[in-house]
Assembly symmetry: none
Homo-oligomer: 500 residues x 2
């Protein structure tokens, strides 16, 4: 039953999303083609759109319509989902005092510049007062929004609706225990791939062409999207039929370009697979950042770093870079792109140790939110934990606690969604293999359509009809655990490193 009230609610909410999508074009343009002197005017345009979107979202009429709809029965499942999820977003938005919203916006916009300077000069003390202010503001945000157990939950909820720090802590603890063992076994194996083959000459133009064709092969629709170059890679779903990927290339680093593209294309395939008939409503929107990340990790790692994928693509890669890889075997290439090694920088970490980087940040963030850790003490805490978890000591804060932009953007609570993505990806892929049979044979033939179709049906088209945890149970028959990821990693690394 579609009532007038429901229609009004949807139209109004959809309009706030339309404003957001206009901001996405402006933001994409800012990162790709905007001339440098346009920055000031663009800031004014973005500020105007942010304010307008917030006004549309917090209109008291939305609250009235929601209350009216909640007090009468709704038969239609999609309508019920939309009311439930618009309520969540609306409540969060109206609970935030607009002065706090404005102060956070102003603070993080300045803090990002101070962070960039501090990182460049390896000067944590210059950033410390900003981190202090951001943590204080995010604690204020948590009290404004409200929480049951931990203030961290209030922040997490923005990115991963319904998830709690306690739950994540449990899964991450299991994961950590098994990862420590696995990484130790790999180190003890004494085997190492020749990673130098990935640092040969890979001219950027060919990386672009090869990457684009790989993204198209796995199912990213270039009639409904594009791929450009930016300093920091991202995927931006502008709306139905329009999804923008970006990447960066280095002429002597193969991994960065191609795996960056497969990663962003995974996000893009999710965006392109959403239910466009419900565009601008929760039913047509992605479920959570963790689920979004599961799609990028699935294509980047589960597929893109697999032997069958390279059985198809390696001869093509050899052709693309004629003369460069003639002395390299398929086996040694696949080993090289799956090298496991403790390292300092999160975005360069391998599939196994990556999660240690996340667990470290997750623990520090919680301590910052409870007040157990003072922002000024972050470098010491970071380095202690790094030593303990990864057996390395960052030679500088620039390569340590200053490496990521997230905190300067106010993104506390965002990091765990990366490892959630790895966990969901493994559990989904395990199920896809059960449902679809011999997927490796598809990959060997360069065919990815059955897997993409399965993901479209099971993960993409439901949108926010189910929260992440529930979606996982529905699709895989089990709640999220660390076992699929550990099982997948063990299975991959056992032959490569000759593990027992």
């Amino acid at each position: 039953m579609t009532t007038t009230t429901y229609r009004q609610l949807i139209d109004a909410f959809r309009e706030s999303k339309l404003v957001e999508s206009i901001g996405s074009i402006a933001s994409w343009d800012q990162h790709t083609y905007m001339p440098p002197k346009g920055a000031g005017h663009r800031a004014e345009q973005m500020g105007f759109l942010a304010k307008l979107g917030h006004e549309k979202l917090t209109s008291p009429r939305l609250g009235e319509w929601l209350t009216a709809l909640e007090t009468s029965p709704i038969d239609d499942e999609t309508e019920a989902v939309n009311v439930r999820e618009i309520r969540r977003v609306y409540d969060r938005a109206v609970k935030m005092p607009s002065k706090l919203v404005e102060e956070i916006a102003k603070t993080v916009s300045q803090a990002q510049n101070y962070w960039a300077e501090a990182r460049k000069k390896n000067d944590f003390p210059a950033f410390a007062p900003w981190l202090d202010k951001i943590v204080a503001l995010k604690r204020e945000e948590a009290s404004a929004v409200g929480f049951k157990e931990s203030p961290y939950d209030a922040l997490l909820d923005e990115y991963e609706p319904g998830a709690t720090a306690a739950e994540i802590t449990r899964v991450f603890a299991d994961l950590r225990a098994d990862l420590v063992k696995l990484v130790a076994e790999i180190a003890a194996s004494g085997k190492k791939p020749s990673v130098d083959i990935l640092n040969r000459e890979y001219p950027v133009e060919r990386q672009h062409i090869f990457g684009q064709s790989a993204a198209a092969a796995i199912g990213f629709d270039f009639q409904a999207g594009r791929l450009d170059t930016t300093v920091h890679p991202f995927c931006s779903g502008i709306g139905p039929g329009d999804c923008r990927l970006t990447t960066r290339y280095h002429p002597r680093e193969f991994n960065q370009g191609l795996f960056g593209i497969l990663h962003e294309a995974g996000h893009g395939i999710y965006e392109q697979g959403l239910d466009h008939a419900h565009y601008g409503t929760p039913a047509g929107s992605f479920a959570s950042l963790g689920i979004h990340e599961s799609q990028s990790r699935l294509w980047e790692n589960q597929v893109g770093r697999s032997m069958p994928f390279w059985e198809h693509f390696f001869p093509r890669l050899q052709q693309t870079y004629a003369g460069t890889l003639d002395d390299v075997t398929l086996e040694s290439f696949v080993f090289a792109v799956n090298n496991v090694e403790k390292s300092l920088i999160r975005v360069e970490a391998d599939e196994a140790t990556y999660n240690m980087h996340i667990i470290l940040r997750f623990e520090l963030e919680q301590a910052l939110m409870t007040g157990d850790l003072k922002p000024a003490d972050v470098p010491g805490a970071w380095n202690d934990k790094f030593k303990q978890m990864l057996d390395l000591t960052p030679p500088s804060d620039a390569q340590g606690c200053l490496q990521d932009i997230h905190w300067s953007m106010g993104g506390i609570g965002y990091f765990p969604t990366y490892t959630l993505g790895n966990l969901y990806a493994a559990q989904f892929m395990e199920q896809a293999r059960r449902d679809l049979g011999n997927l490796d044979e598809d990959f060997r033939r360069g065919q990815f359509g059955r897997l993409k179709g399965w993901l479209n049906e099971k993960i993409h088209s439901p949108g926010q009809r189910h929260r992440a945890g529930e979606l996982c149970k529905r699709v895989t028959g089990a709640p999220l655990t660390h076992q699929a990821l550990i099982g997948y990693l063990r299975k991959k690394y056992t032959p490569l490193y000759g593990l027992a």
Copy 2:
């Protein structure tokens, strides 16, 4: 005296311009980088922005503030101008029903894609229903806005405030009479340049580099703008510090690329020369499309096709295309880029016959608006008039009535501003030469700063402080006539064609 009421008026009007400038990014993106399947969503975004801009512009509070300001004396000249011109725009806007505004925006956003397809496939019938809808909507617009003599005046007023079809008809009639004579004398001279030298191999990448450096040389600031490739070239001033030029290249047509760039750069130099302190208000906006076009024509033709310009640039062109122009003299090159010949395509027409293309469109548009011409009959009417005025029959609609994007954008009333631009350009340039002395010597040295400075001061920075006709009188001491243009053309062509 700046009152609170004045500040409120300016802030509100400026916000409507900010919305417009956000639409400019979306529109630029649509023409440059948007993936094809994004068209539907983009139409919705553009429709929303048009509606929002219209709402902001037609807020009753604006009317109240205007009335309050008009009933008390204003000392400040800029403030007086802003009140006068906001009144004009406000009155026009409140007369337009917002449903009509939204429908026009949605229709033209889609129609542009259909036009591009129809032109590609030489399929006028595929575009006819869209033209029909657009003409109907524009007639609705004319009745809503109101007019004294002709519905065409109501449309014209949007582009050329204060101008009327009757006035333009008079100046165009004088121009046409003298042009017919001049073009006949040129044809009778029997002399012809070797235009084939412009159809040698001009690789596109070098055209881009050479064009970009020429645009920078005449004063376009690439830190505050860019140059991209589109089907139909345009210039879009997004806002302070951000102006986008586009052009198109053909590897065997020299004129199209370079003169297209000089043309759009002329528009861009105007946008960059506006008074940014008054951005978003009439005092910081361009005077009219005719004045805008005068700036593009001035740089493209008066400067860019002159002998002194090529005395500087021709040796550089020879270097850029090493081996291609070794056998060509400066004189024969300048003659070739000034070839006068009746031809099919407006944007490829020479400076003299170009105006015939405009007069033809001006007449057809008036007939469409009165209903004397049905959109479905446009191809026949076009071809008849073309035969009569230019003694040629277009071999296809793609090279006839489908060649221009304007009607698909709803731009009826726009074309005459092109010839107004030619007329103003000639009259301004005559004055610049009187004021600045030997400009040709500057050009020979590749120096364009004195001319650009004069234009910045006389034409650009005043914004809408004077309407076009008044600006012409203030700058040149005389109202607009056809004489400067005819004088300039005669002076140029007399030596080239050995006229009496």
